[in-house]
Structures are given as C-alpha cells and as structure tokens.
C-alpha cells in the first residue's frame, strides 16, 4: 500500500564529510500525519532533515526515498521546494542586505511559477504576509529587515514559521523549531502549525521536548539514535522518554 504514502524512506544510509550519519533509516509518512522525532544530540535528526531537503553535502549511499510516489533523490533542493517540501532550519542562516519581504516574495513566486501559476503582485503579497504576521503575533517591521540578519534566536524561528505558512507545504519538516522559543512564542507557533493541519499536509517534527507535543499532538513518536529509528510509538512514547531519558532504549535495543 505504498501508493498512499506521502513519504517512504527505505533503509537509507547517508554520510557527510566521510562520516556516516544515517545507518539504515526507514520511515513512512501518510498524508495528514504528524510524526515527532526525538533522540539524543548527534543522533542524526538534522541529518535526516537535510537529506530530505536535498542538501548537497549529505550523500545518500544506500536506500531509497519516495515522495508522492516519485524518486526524491533525483530532485534538486529547489524542485523539492516547488513540490511542497519545506524544512524549517534548526539554525536559520543570516543573509545581510537581502530584504526579508523581497526574499519571501521571490520564494513564493518561484514556487508558483514552477507550478504554472502567475506570480503574485507586490501589493496583494504584502497583504497576505501581513495577515500571516498577525497570526504569528509577529511585528511586520521584521519584513523590512534583512533576512534573519541580527534576529534573535526566537525571532529567526518565528520567521521560519512565517515562511512555512506562506509556502503552504505538503511536507513540513520542523527541525527543533521549539528550541529557543519563549513560552508565549511556543504557544503561538503551535497554534499556527495546528491551523495548517489538514488531511493532506504532513509534519515531521524534530524536538527534544515533550512540552511541544502537548500543543502539537503527534500521531507517531519515533526515537532516532545512532542514525536509525530505534523505537516508534504513539504520543505516550514522548511522555515515557521525558520521564526516563534515552538510556533504557539502548538497553532494550
């Protein structure tokens, strides 16, 4: 029944700079599902995100990934974006001099054009973004600044969420979006994510903290350790991890 999968990761091995980071990882995501990934530092969570988004330095050496029934590994990062993959970075980069609003409109229109749609004019785009800023309780002044330049950690994460809402992905990968957020921001962003949840859209949420999952209720929780998924369960697994840490899983495996 693989045809109804949005994402089908089969036994993927990947390395970066000669270091093996994924060691036979498998994961299946159906449309509309929210999967949480937890796991110790250095386990390979960001590596998985980068592999899915198509970062060049992360070489897939074995295994397959199908996205909407298509070979994902054949696609460039921008093609993946056009086809609905979005990764919110654990550490969003700063790009001095590039206006935030201009960047977002370029990204938005690049996707539209790739999908045969007319680019959106500056004014309606501005209105759309301002409305989303409202939903994220974000000061629209951020739009006038250079992309992430001098943004605080939490502001960067919020800016990532703004782009996610704008680009309306099919598969949103949130790499520790909750890290560095204050309590109010966590609630606002969770609400935004929840507002995007529907039967088509799926989320892969990487987090270290159960508290995020109080807001964004996952359908599945996976433990990623040493480059592979070592345990999967429902939302209750996160609670168990919160209580016991990761050591017991290692013993179990």
């Amino acid at each position: 029944m693989s045809s109804d999968l949005l994402l089908d990761i089969k036994n993927v091995c990947a390395s970066v700079e000669e270091k093996q980071v994924l060691k036979g990882l498998s994961l299946q995501i159906k449309p509309g599902e929210v999967h949480a990934i937890m796991g110790p530092n250095g386990a390979g969570k960001s590596s998985l995100s980068n592999v899915l988004a198509g970062r060049d330095a992360f070489k897939v050496t074995d295994g397959e990934i199908a996205y909407c029934g298509e070979d994902l590994l054949e696609l460039s990062p921008e093609e993946r974006a056009h086809k609905g993959i979005f990764m919110a970075f654990q550490y969003p980069v700063e790009i001095p001099g590039v206006n935030n609003l201009y960047f977002m409109r370029s990204a938005f229109n690049a996707k539209r054009e790739a999908n045969g749609e007319e680019p959106m004019e500056a004014y309606p785009f501005m209105m759309k973004v301002q409305q989303l800023c409202g939903e994220l309780e974000m000061n629209p002044d951020f739009l006038k600044r250079a992309l992430n330049d001098g943004f605080s950690g939490g502001e960067k994460k919020r800016n990532e969420m703004l782009q996610m809402m704008l680009l309306e992905p099919k598969l949103a990968i949130l790499d520790e979006t909750d890290s560095g957020l204050d309590i109010d921001a966590l609630r606002v962003i969770s609400n935004a994510v929840n507002s995007l949840r529907n039967t088509e859209r799926s989320f892969l949420v990487v987090t270290h903290y159960q508290r995020l999952l109080d807001y964004i209720k996952p359908d599945f929780v996976h433990v990623l350790a040493n480059g592979k998924i070592v345990k999967s369960g429902d939302a209750s697994l996160a609670l168990e991890l919160e209580e016991k840490g990761y050591a017991w899983i290692n013993e179990e495996v």
Partner: protein, 511 residues
C-alpha cells in the same frame, strides 16, 4: 584616531563549488526575444559583437606626427596642439608603472592605432535621423535605445562611438539654461577659452604615465559646463564603446560646475569580443566651485576576457575631482564589472572649507580578471568630509584589490573621513585585498575605517534553494544585497542598468 600609514591586507578563500561559472551570466543586459538563445548567450559576454561600420583609422604607432595628425583631423586650436606635444614629449621620458598586484604582459604602445572615427561622422549628423542606422542598431543591442531612453527618461545622451561623438540630444533644453554639454572636440573649437582655462588643471599631464599618454593622443570625450546657480535640468549621460581592432581609447572628460550649480553625469561602457587586449586610458577631470555639486556615476561593463583571461580590456583610468570652493561636493559612484585589468582611483581633492567628497563603488571580478581600484581623499580645507563605501566581489580566480588613501593635511582642521570596505568571495580560488592608507597630520581630524571579508556560504545558498530559488538566483540575490548601499546612490536611471548587470531585479528590496 589612526596613526599614519595603517596597512591592512586581507586574503581569504571561499568554499563554494569552484566549477560553477556563476557571474558570467551577470554581465550584460538580458535580451527578451528568444529565451532558449538567452540561456546560451548569457553564458558568454553578451555584447561581444563587432559592427562593420567602416572605420577611418590611423596605422599603428605613436610619434609626434601622429599627435599632430590627430590634432589636425580635429581642427584644433594651436594651444591644444602645443599642449598635446608637451604631454607627448613628457610621456617619452616616462616608463610604464610597475604593477605591484597585477599580472600582465607589457603593452606595446607602437602596436596600437591612435585614431579611429566612424565614417558617418564626416558630415556630422544634426539629429538622430541622420545617424547611421547601423550605429543605432548597435546601441539597441547594447540595451541603449538612444531615442527611447532619452525621451522617456529625460536624459541627454552624448554617445561616444569609437572615440568620436556622433549623436547629441536635448541640446536645446540644455542651451536654454546655458549648460554646455558637447563632445570635447566641439568644445575645443567653440569654447577654446574654457578648455584653455581648465584642461589639465586637475589632472596635469605630468600626473602619471597614462595621463601623459592620454593628454598627447586623446581622441574625444565630453565637455560639460554648468553656469553659476544652474541646476542641470537633465541627467547627462555618455555611452562609450570600444569597437575597431587594436584601437586604444583615450577619452577625455572635463566637467566644470560654477558657483552654486549642480550636475549629475552618467557614464556607461561596453565593448565587443576581441582576441587581443585592448588598452583604455581615460582621463576625467571635475571642478566644483563654491556651493557646487557634481555627481559622477559609472557603470562599467567592458569585455573582461574569456574564461582563460584572453582578450579583455585593459582599463587604466585617471579620474579626479577638485572641490575648489567652500561647501562644494563631488561624489563618485561606480559599478565595475568588466575589463581584464582595471586600475583606477577616482579621487577628490577637498580644497574648499566644508567641502565633501564621496566614493561609492562596486567592483566585481570573475575568472582571471584583476582589479586594483580605490579612491584618494585629500583633505586640505577646514571641516572637509569624505565617505568611502567600497564593495568588492571576487569569483573564479579573480583578484580584487582595494587601495584607498585618506590624507589629512595640517590645514584640514576637524576633517572627517569614514571608510567602509567590504569584500565578498565566491569560490575558493579568488582573492580580496584591502589596503587602506591613512596619513593624518591634523590632531582634530577623525578617521574611521571598517573592513569586512565574507563569502557566499554553502549554507546561505542552500537556505535559498530549500525555499525554491535556483542557485543562480540565490547568488544574484545575495550579491545584490551586498551591494545595496551603493546601488541606492545611483540615479534611478542607472540603478536599472546596474541591476541588469548583476542580473537580478531589486524590485521591492530597497527601502
């Protein structure tokens, strides 16, 4: 603050994939008609074509006879011939400068032809209708629709083609307010007293090797005179283009702004593809009197040579402005993307009290291009101020050096300078060097210098790509963002050209 003679050198390397030839695409103006050809052509220099207008050209070589012949061809007054000859005799005593940072083979000055004029100039055209259609077509290809642009944007265009001006528009409008804007050769005949008074006063022929050469053999250029209290009603612009083979280019531009006047002058250049290196040695002199302001902008897009560095233009320019009067102001803004070798230091001599000098520059070098540019700000008057913003971009195996001199004379009480030199590296084989020289001999002066070197990181590119932008668009966007401060200083008209040059629309990103 800083003591005399600070020297900072920065040499660093980028990390991007070296095989990508990213910035070639960004040279030249995008064509609209055929998208499939576009993508192919855009990989090469887009203005690399040669117009087959018959050139009237001197045989190669330089001698006193050649200098006399140039002057005779132009019907020049005696004093000008004498001046050329003095310059020539002085030039003979000089040896070419030793290029500290530049790698180049010696130039054979006897292998160059010192005069070429399009035939169509023999009976000088009175209007655009009389201009050789071939020539107009050339401008079209260069993205300079002369008539359209002039009409729509209200720009008077003195189009220099093969060193001789062939079309000047909006003359009437300028004449109404007494502005003189004409080819240099015309000015030499119609306004000899002005030429005699100002020529060589800011850049004497003794100044340097190339200034001497230019003074001896200059072919043509522009002359601008703004009378007292007049704001030029139009932006003045000139397009240069090197065309005939082996023809050195020796333009001479002189701008005089009388008391309380204002002028904005734009200059842009492109050149066709060539196998041999071509020499260009221009001289630009600016004079701003009391309360006058001159804004001089350049978008320079000469053929840089192929990927191996063959066939590019050698560009050795002496540009200098003198702020003679109190509260006068001169700004140089330049976007440099062309030439195999660029050597130029637009300078300001701040004589008048409270006078202001500005230098805003973007220099982009790719492949084997070498640029050694910068500025000199010489503070003499009291409370003189200067601002230097320099943005250097290097890609491929290019070398980009910024050399800036800020000299505060003992008379320059409370003089101030702010310099900011930023370098952006694309790839791991290019280099950026920053050499700020400061000579401060006045204790109340304030001199500030900031320098940064950054590279377009893989992380920045991936970030953009992961949001759906192509790598090329991402690079253009980052490069344009880097240059924004300078683009903002360009007149609207030219800002567009600069954007074309760097192949990205800045729409919406400014402000």
């Amino acid at each position: 603050m800083a003591g005399p003679h600070c020297l900072v050198s920065i040499y660093s390397c980028g990390i991007m994939r070296p095989e990508k030839n990213l910035l070639i695409k960004e040279v030249g103006v995008a064509k609209r008609h055929d998208p499939s050809i576009d993508s192919f052509v855009s990989k090469r220099y887009e203005h690399g074509f040669v117009t087959d207008i018959e050139s009237e050209q001197f045989a190669a070589g330089l001698s006193e006879d050649v200098v006399r012949a140039i002057s005779a061809k132009k019907n020049e007054p005696e004093f000008l011939l004498e001046w050329r000859l003095e310059a020539y005799r002085h030039w003979l005593t000089l040896t070419p400068p030793d290029w500290a940072h530049l790698k180049m083979s010696p130039i054979d000055f006897q292998a160059i032809s010192y005069f070429a004029a399009p035939k169509s100039n023999a009976n000088a055209p009175k209007s655009l209708d009389e201009v050789d259609p071939k020539l107009l077509e050339t401008y079209e290809k260069l993205g300079v629709p002369l008539h359209e642009r002039a009409r729509l944007a209200g720009v008077a265009v003195d189009a220099v083609f093969d060193s001789v001006s062939v079309a000047t528009t909006f003359k009437d409008k300028l004449e109404e307010v007494g502005v003189i804007f004409c080819p240099f050769s015309e000015a030499a005949q119609k306004h000899p007293e002005l030429i005699k008074q100002y020529l060589g006063k800011v850049v004497p022929y003794r100044d340097n090797f190339f200034a001497a050469l230019n003074s001896a053999v200059f072919s043509d250029g522009s002359f601008v005179y703004i009378p007292k209290g007049v704001r030029s009603p139009l932006e003045l612009s000139t397009y240069f283009r090197i065309n005939a083979a082996n023809t050195g280019q020796f333009e001479r531009t002189l701008i005089v702004a009388e008391e309380g006047s204002y002028v904005s002058y734009l200059e842009g250049c492109t050149a066709p593809m060539r196998d041999e290196n071509q020499l260009h040695a221009a001289v630009v002199e600016l004079i701003a009197k009391t309360d006058a302001e001159i804004k001089y902008s350049t978008v320079q897009n000469w053929y840089p040579g192929d990927e191996e560095g063959r066939g590019g233009i050698y560009n050795f320019v002496t540009k200098r402005g003198s702020c003679e009067g109190d509260r006068s102001k001169i700004s140089w803004t330049q976007i440099e993307t062309g030439s195999a070798i660029t050597w130029k230091y637009p300078s300001c001599i701040l004589r008048g009290d409270d006078s202001v000098g500005e230098f805003y520059s973007v220099a982009l070098t790719n492949n084997h291009q070498q640029a050694d540019t910068g500025t000199k700000m010489i503070h003499i008057g009291k409370r003189t101020k200067s601002v230097i913003i320099s943005k250097g971009i290097s890609a491929g195996q290019a070398q980009n050096a910024y050399r800036g001199l800020v000299r505060i004379a003992p008379t320059a009480v409370k003089a101030r300078n702010y310099s900011q030199c930023d370098s952006l590296l694309i790839g791991d084989r290019c280099g950026a060097h920053t050499f700020p020289y400061m000579e401060v001999s006045e204790s109340t002066a304030q001199v500030e210098h900031e320098a940064t070197t950054s590279k377009i990181g893989e992380d920045q590119l991936f970030y953009c790509q992961s949001r759906g932008l192509s790598e090329e668009d991402a690079v253009s966007m980052i490069v344009n963002g880097f240059c924004k401060e300078v683009f903002k200083k360009l007149p609207m008209e030219f800002a567009l050209e600069a954007q074309n040059l760097l192949a990205v629309s800045l729409e919406g990103s400014v402000g």
